[in-house]
Symmetry: C2
């Protein structure tokens, strides 16, 4: 999510190979050179694909001697998005070549955001085809994976001026709605709040499913929703004998 004061990233940690085979994996990766750049990547889709992408990007960034460009070397966030997109496309192509026919099985979608010295903080959504779009005023946040259940509250409550604390609350409420509806989304949630122009990784952490704050939000939100609905005027039916 893109805010005036920075970027807020949140990802769940559940992966599944069927309803009877779920596990917990980190879906967020961060690369930084303090004082120069901080880049965060979140992934949804085929785990083998997304892990391969992260590993490839990681290896490159750790072998500066290598001729291959690295996330720690690219001059701009746009170039970073390009590199990540190419890597994603490449990995998917490799998997698709080795046997399985091209369908969505190996696909993955990525969210990349951060800031590189000399440029603003930017946020990108990267498609499996290797192309990508950037968040702007009209679309200031991206969702990947199971996006629908949690979207209405984001659309309604997002405010570019909101604090990191309020943004974290909003994202947890959004995830909570999804959690209640889709078993393939699960706590804990990893987060990173990147402060604009800090050029270094900001606050990161993990919110557990039994975290007291998360539980209070989850319960409080249900109550708050019911109260909000009660505040709205009821629909007027011509006559409703059952309400005599």
């Amino acid at each position: 999510m893109m805010l005036e004061r920075g970027l807020v990233f949140m990802s769940d940690t559940r992966t599944n190979a069927g309803l009877d085979d779920i596990s917990t994996f980190r879906k967020m990766a961060i690369w930084e050179t303090p004082g120069d750049r901080s880049i965060t990547l979140m992934a949804a889709g085929n785990l083998a694909t997304t892990q391969a992408v992260v590993s490839l990007l990681d290896e490159r960034s750790k072998s500066p001697g290598d001729r291959a460009p690295s996330l720690l070397g690219v001059p701009s966030m746009f170039q970073a998005a390009r590199m990540v997109a190419d890597t994603l496309k490449e990995v998917i192509a490799q998997h698709a070549d080795t046997g399985q026919r091209a369908d969505s099985t190996f696909n993955a979608t990525l969210i990349l955001g951060g800031q590189i010295k000399g440029g603003p903080h930017r946020l990108f959504l990267i498609y499996p085809e290797g192309n990508f779009i950037e968040a702007g005023r009209d679309t200031p946040f991206f969702q990947i994976g199971e996006t629908k259940y949690g979207r209405p509250i984001l659309v309604r409550a997002y405010d570019p001026k909101m604090s990191f604390q309020a943004a974290m609350k909003l994202l947890l409420v959004s995830f909570d709605s999804t959690l209640k509806a889709n078993l393939t989304v699960g706590a804990p949630f990893d987060f990173h709040c990147y402060e604009a122009d800090s050029l270094c990784t900001g606050q990161t952490g993990r919110v557990a499913g039994d975290d007291p704050y998360f539980l209070s939000i989850s319960q409080g939100w249900g109550q708050a929703l019911r109260e909000a609905l009660d505040m709205l005027p009821d629909f007027k039916l011509g006559k409703d004998p059952s309400d005599a």
Copy 2:
């Protein structure tokens, strides 16, 4: 939606054959014999299929002499659901036979609810395969079509004791969330409030997209959501310089 005091049905009216080809069709049909039964059917999916199903059920109910059973003749809501399910399966099979290979193209899903003298009011979800499930205490409402965006508020705010007026408000809020996210869902909305044991059609009507009440709900709900979120405590970050 199943309430203690009856059933509330609501359907949108938008159909599409691609984003550039949308139109308005009624997706709700009602059969009744006052004093004996009132049966409501709502449809989602292939319009040709659902219209064929309704027409077939209609013809049968209008030719009592016909040996084929009719919705106005069946002894119970379970038998009604069975008849509708068989009709749906039959129509899909016919379409599938005539050329196109079996995929979801001709599929449709139905919600059937009502009451027949001697039995309680019941609510069924009918699948394209011709089988169906019934709403109970644990799952007191069904959604078909684009179900995800509007689900969280239903799950959170549903109350079996709620009035028809409150239920209508809840359903309009739920539809509004979907409306804002999916172009294939659109006003006006048809509704029917069936009062338990009345054994006749209750209040029916259509809520237009520019209906003052609907507009006030739509705007009021956004505001109410933001206020509800504000009421919840913010997430505590160790330190957030940007909030100095």
